[in-house]
Amino acid sequence: MRETTSVLPLAVSDLTFEAGGKRLVDGIGFTIPRGGLTVIIGPNGSGKSLTLRLCHGLIAPSAGAIAWAAGEGTLAGHKRHAMVFQKPVMLRRSALANVEHALAAAGAGWSERRSRAREALDRFGLTDKADRPARLMSGGEQQRLAIARAWALRPEILFLDEPTSQLDPGATRQIEQMILALKAEGVTLVMATHDMGQARRLADRVLFLHRGRLVEDAPAETFFSGPASAEARAFIAGDLVW
């Protein structure tokens, strides 16, 4: 009997998503092993966000498979993948209660909730914001809280959908530092972005999407120094709009 200790690798094959007669994600396939930061990059409408949502199980694919090493990405009844959205969804409660709510949904007991939520806020420098209504915090603080809330769930893999696209440079830098800290902790990360500079700063591996297709899957260094496809060269040069 093989003991399963990880939901990874995540194997995605022939992933297709259609809506309104349009094929928005078109036969994508890739594997996410444990560790590292994979950036999904591509112009607007290339299917980055949809790919993340499909992997996280928020929407069902029209065709293809999303195969986790264990269950549906769950281990011992616990979902081991979490997601941070472009526009953080803040419940109408305090910062601390936002984290506690996520832990309660994951089945944590009352006292465990409290201590793990405090730990998450401490971990990401939000200790003094614990009692503030989450929706009254700044955009950068909200996104930090969203990441802290996801981290509190102890995911093996975290999907991030353009987490800094609505933030100013200072807040973006903070979020990027958080992401790197998560990577150092061993959390596997998959992040969608259309920010080339951010991809250069963070990526270990790049998946380049264009019009719903996976055009390139390469180590970051290779991708940025010598992209194989004409589309990727045009995108890096800033010529490819869609």
Binding site: R53, H56, L58, K79, A82, M83, F85, V89, L91, R92, R93, H101, A102, A105, A106, P133, A134, R135, L136
Partner: protein, 233 residues
Amino acid sequence: MDIAQSFAAAFALILGADPAFLAIVRLSLAVTLTAVAVAALIGLPVGALLALSRFPGRGAVIVLVNALMGLPPVVAGLLVFLLLSRSGPLGPLGLLFTPTAMVCAQAILVLPIVIAITRQLVEDLHGEYREHLASLGLTGLRAIPTLLWDGRFALATAILAGFGRASAEVGAVLIVGGNIAGYTRTMTTAIALETSKGDLPLALGLGIVLILLTLGINAVTYAASRVGARFAG
């Protein structure tokens, strides 16, 4: 008796805490508060359910509930009267002309308000929260507790609106309660009766209490929305 004398007598009644006067106020509050509690207990979950479920004819149900917010109190009273009258389906319970019958009638008036406002509010909130809640595994009906709790300040406003409607109506409680002195006489039915009898001080006194009550409800509603704004942003 001129108007000035009537007002003076009315204030004397209020300040003197006349027992018969207080009994009417107490009964009115008890009936209306119970009716609102019953309507909230049923209306909050039903409204949330209506917000999250999809079934054929859902649009028609929403239109019907919205329309029932304007149900004339006398019609609600008539319906409850028919149900509870001796030959009606619930006649054997012997509830006609009791405070329980008045609670039923007022709950029917308040229920559409609570359901309609809850439905709208929960639907809007769910639109905003859906992806995050789904990410946490809170899909379908499991999203309801979060949505009701996060809508608590706006929902309090809905419930207070229901309280306002129930405390002000006269038609329903008059029909099913019968305006029996000391038993089913409420502020509104007493005002209607005493005015026609010419006992203006009692009618005026009760009218003043009713207006103060309405003012109080609106102050609480305003405070609830302010507190909500501070917490919810």
